[in-house]
């Protein structure tokens, strides 16, 4: 029965539709788009600036020096072409750690958005995967812009550079999942600062992006194997340079490890979000 002029329409209590969890997931994901609409200009600009700066400094500047000093060091590939796909993956990885930290801390502790979402038919499944789905979407955007800049620089060895984009998305998920799961247990950014300083930055520098990992001291090489960044970097590079066929098993292993990391991250985020929401 509608009450005229009132914003409220009394509904019968028996009217209890079931909704699919996927519908909720779509709405949670839409929420992230709505937030992004307000900030996209600044973020798109940043997504262009970073690759331009890095490719100029490392690719052109350092690359000219490397290529002259030892032309065969990287199998005859110019340094900028060797660097570009790896830098794409590493940059996307860094972004994904951010995207898995601040929205999660805010959702649980600051504006407590997730608790508001959970008071509706949304499930922890929708809330957790809506957030991670958004991280992967951001990875797609950042990676695509990066690939575009690489093409502008003429730094693509083959059209395979496009395949670095899905590799970057998978790598982003393999990082964002565990980070989001962990951040659901935190109340502030203290732990994030440590993760960034002692985790993300060293990984960025030492995971084969700027120089091959066989240049690392022996005791550090197993670490590159355990953490997913090197797998993403090496796979993206092989795809971009067209050298996957040279070591098919190694590259298959990269893919399997990235997939495993992504799945572990998805499950961990779901479990932790559910625990945190259901108190």
């Amino acid at each position: 029965m509608a009450v005229s002029g009132a914003p409220y329409r009394l509904r019968s209590a028996g009217d209890l539709p079931r909704r699919s969890p996927l519908a909720g997931l779509g709405a949670a994901y839409e929420h992230m788009w709505l937030i992004y609409r307000r900030t996209w200009r600044g973020s798109i600009f940043g997504s262009f600036v970073q690759p331009v700066l890095f490719l100029l400094a490392m690719g052109v500047g350092l690359g000219t020096y490397v290529d002259t000093a030892s032309p065969d060091a990287l199998g005859g590939v110019p340094y900028i072409q060797w660097l570009a796909p790896a830098l794409l993956v590493s940059t996307v990885m860094q972004g994904s750690v951010f995207e898995a930290t601040f929205p999660v801390l805010g959702g649980f502790n600051w504006d407590r958005r997730y608790h508001g979402m959970y008071a509706t038919p949304l499930t922890p499944f929708a809330i957790a995967f809506g957030q991670l789905g958004w991280v992967v979407t951001r990875a797609l955007m950042v990676a695509s812009i990066f690939a575009f800049v690489i093409l502008l620089f003429g730094a693509a060895a083959t059209p395979g550079i496009v395949l670095a984009i899905p590799v970057a998305m998978l790598t982003a998920l393999a990082f964002a999942g565990p980070v989001a799961a962990f951040m659901s247990t935190q109340r502030d950014t203290a732990a994030f600062n440590s993760i960034w300083r002692f985790g993300v930055t060293p990984l960025f520098l030492f995971s084969g992006t700027f120089f091959p990992i066989d240049r690392l001291p022996d005791f550090l090489q197993p670490i590159a194997w355990v953490l997913p960044l090197w797998h993403g970097v090496d796979l993206a590079r092989a795809l971009a340079l067209g050298t996957v066929g040279q070591q098919p098993l190694l590259h298959l292993a990269h893919l399997v490890i990235l997939l495993a990391g992504a799945i572990v991250g998805l499950v961990a985020t779901y479990v932790m979000f559910k625990r945190k929401l259901e108190r």
Partner: protein
């Protein structure tokens, strides 16, 4: 199980219990809420009001006992039940990065409404809570009262069968509270079932048809505000306030002034059916309080009687 007064209560709780580890926040409480009723939980900090509301809101698993909402079990049908609830949580959960209107629109999407429906509904509700002119503003700079109103608007977006309000007016100035009360009263008249918690007896008296008093995880009394006052208090109360230090010297001089005497740190309450007569009797005994106030009994007195403590410290 006791037979129900009404055919199907919207909320039915028996032995409802919530534990956090070893700590019992809600200890085997029983209550029913009928359709169209407005039902309150009155109690001091830590009584277990929010813990109960969260179980009813299907966001906190029941530790023990029976809970049925709209005839369904929250452990099985949580999302379906939540689709028919409107929730105003104790702490705001608005998205501070979105505009006022977008907060409502995205919430409507959570209930499966179309974009067009969501926008129409959002605008109507912003009018209802008098926030239409702030529609495009961000949430962050809104005052506490405005955020509360927005949260109430958001809770109505799905035309809920039950509206759960956890301390809807705590921290608001009197004007903001009265505006909120007015809106809630209108909803009640439209037949919305309200369930609310509060520390404020005036709020409970204004809005609740029936309420329970909670203290230390248990329900200690139940009834309409009037019934509770009749059952646990007298018609009138005489408040005697003495000069500093005098109250401690009055041993034995107060007894018999009324049916019951309650000594608070700053004043003495005399419960009787004729407050003026009690004041006169005090005067005859040579007591010289600095101020004398005769008033009607309120839920505050009920609470004091039941728990030995006052409601708002």
């Amino acid at each position: 199980m006791t037979p129900d007064e009404s055919p199907t209560p919207l909320i039915h709780a028996r032995g409802l219990t919530k534990k956090f580890g070893e700590f019992t926040a809600v200890d085997a409480v029983d209550f029913d809420v009928a359709s169209g009723e407005s039902f309150g939980f009155l109690g001091p900090n830590g009584a277990g009001k929010t813990s109960t509301m969260r179980m009813v809101g299907c966001v906190s698993p029941v530790t023990a006992g029976t809970l049925r909402i709209l005839g369904l079990d929250p452990n099985v049908d949580g999302p379906r039940i939540r689709g028919r609830l409107g929730v105003v949580p104790q702490q705001d959960t608005l998205d501070t990065e979105l505009s006022v209107r977008d907060n409502l629109v995205i919430y409507a999407r959570y209930f499966g409404m179309s974009h067009a429906e969501a926008r129409t509904k959002a605008d109507a509700l912003l009018e209802f809570v008098q926030l239409a002119e702030r529609a495009k503003d961000k949430v962050e700079p809104l005052s506490g009262g405005m955020k509360r109103r927005l949260t109430i608007a958001r809770a109505l977006i799905n035309d809920p069968s039950i509206l759960l309000l956890d301390e809807p007016t705590t921290g608001l100035d009197p004007q903001a509270r009265h505006l909120l009360w007015d809106r809630l009263y209108r909803l009640k008249q439209q037949g919305v079932t309200l369930v609310l918690t509060t520390h404020y007896m005036d709020e409970a008296e204004q809005l609740c048809d029936r309420l329970v008093v909670m203290d230390k995880a248990r329900i200690v009394a139940e009834g309409s505000p009037l019934q509770l006052i009749e059952r646990y208090s007298t018609r009138e109360v005489t408040e005697l306030r003495f000069a500093v230090g005098v109250q401690e010297t009055l041993d034995g001089q107060l007894e018999g002034l009324g049916e019951r005497i309650e000594r608070l740190p700053d004043r003495v309450l005399v419960y009787s059916n004729d407050g003026e007569a009690a004041a006169a009797a005090a005067n005859q005994r040579g007591l010289r309080p600095e101020t004398v106030l005769v008033r009607r009994s309120s839920l505050e007195d009920v609470f004091l009687r039941l728990t030995g403590r006052s409601l708002v410290d």
